[in-house]
């Protein structure tokens, strides 16, 4: 394999990252949270438009209420970053209200946040099952900011729930089709 040691470390991080759904009560240090947020700023965005905004919290009460309105949040995170799309800003670029392409940038931001958390030893898990309307109220989002994904953070607990289903591990070959 070609590449530098630094490059190998990146690949190792990609391969070893897992969704963490069980975390301890230990708070996430603000400095660590900021490290993850800084990585998110470097996520690729279409046209370098940066239409996503991050709403971070490590407040226990806010996190508790956030979990109450997020059925997909099985974990009890000690910090969370909500990726929002700034719809008015998107509209200013000419995106229609139902533009699906904006979700791609949510995905790249999420992947970057998850990897960054993993890189500094935090556990992270994405949640998309939540009431957009309720989360907007809980996080006091500005008008037009749509919450798209919550990245839950914390220190990984030693015991984690069983995966959603046992299945043979996929390889890249299973996911790839070559064309001439």
């Amino acid at each position: 394999m070609t590449g530098t040691p630094e490059g190998k470390a990146v690949l190792d991080a990609i391969r070893s990252r897992r969704v963490v759904r069980a975390v301890t009560d230990e708070p996430v240090a603000r400095e660590d949270l900021e490290t993850v947020l800084d990585a998110g700023r470097w996520a690729p965005t279409a046209g370098n438009r940066h239409l996503q905004r991050f709403v971070a919290t490590d407040d226990p009460t806010t996190l508790r209420v956030l979990r109450m309105v997020s059925p997909g949040m099985l974990q009890h995170p000690t910090a969370a970053i909500t990726i929002c799309t700034d719809r008015p800003r998107a509209a200013a670029f000419g995106f229609p209200p139902d533009a699906t392409g904006l979700h791609v940038d949510v995905g790249t931001a999420a992947a970057t946040l998850l990897l960054a958390a993993h890189a500094i030893g935090l556990g992270a898990g994405p949640v998309t099952s939540f009431s957009r309307a309720a989360v907007g109220v809980v996080l006091r989002l500005p008008a037009g900011w749509v919450p798209e994904m919550i990245v839950c953070l914390g220190h990984p607990a030693p015991v984690t729930p069983a995966p959603m289903r046992a299945r043979p591990r996929l390889t890249w070959r299973d996911l790839t089709t070559w064309v001439p």
Partner: protein, 113 residues
């Protein structure tokens, strides 16, 4: 809000308002999210609600109810969905329903022959 243990009007409540509100919020928001989610998440969300309710009431519930919560209810895998092994999944839920019915019968009608 007080949901009391058994039919004894002076028995202590097993759920306080904060816990009830938490479950209420879960159920209401799950109703909304389920519109956009895969149908297979339906039973998962309901079982999560049952787990949370069970965890909330178990410390102040009867020993038998606490046993049901810690036993048959907890035995259902937290993240299981019917996607793979639908028959096994269904059979597991049927077994849970039977265990629940058995507990309900002994709880509410202990003298039933």
């Amino acid at each position: 809000m007080e949901i009391r243990k058994g039919q004894d009007p002076v028995s202590p409540p097993v759920l306080d308002e904060d816990q009830a509100l938490e479950l209420l919020a879960y159920l209401v928001t799950a109703a909304r999210t389920q519109i956009d989610e895969a149908a297979e998440y339906g039973p998962l969300r309901l079982l999560t609600a049952a787990r949370r309710l069970g965890a909330a009431i178990a410390p102040r519930a009867s020993a038998a109810t606490a046993e049901f919560v810690a036993g048959p209810l907890a035995a259902v895998p937290e993240l299981a969905v019917p996607r793979d092994g639908r028959e096994e999944y269904t059979a597991g839920l049927d077994e849970l329903c039977r265990a629940l019915a058995g507990h309900l019968t002994s709880h509410f009608a202990p003298d039933t022959p």
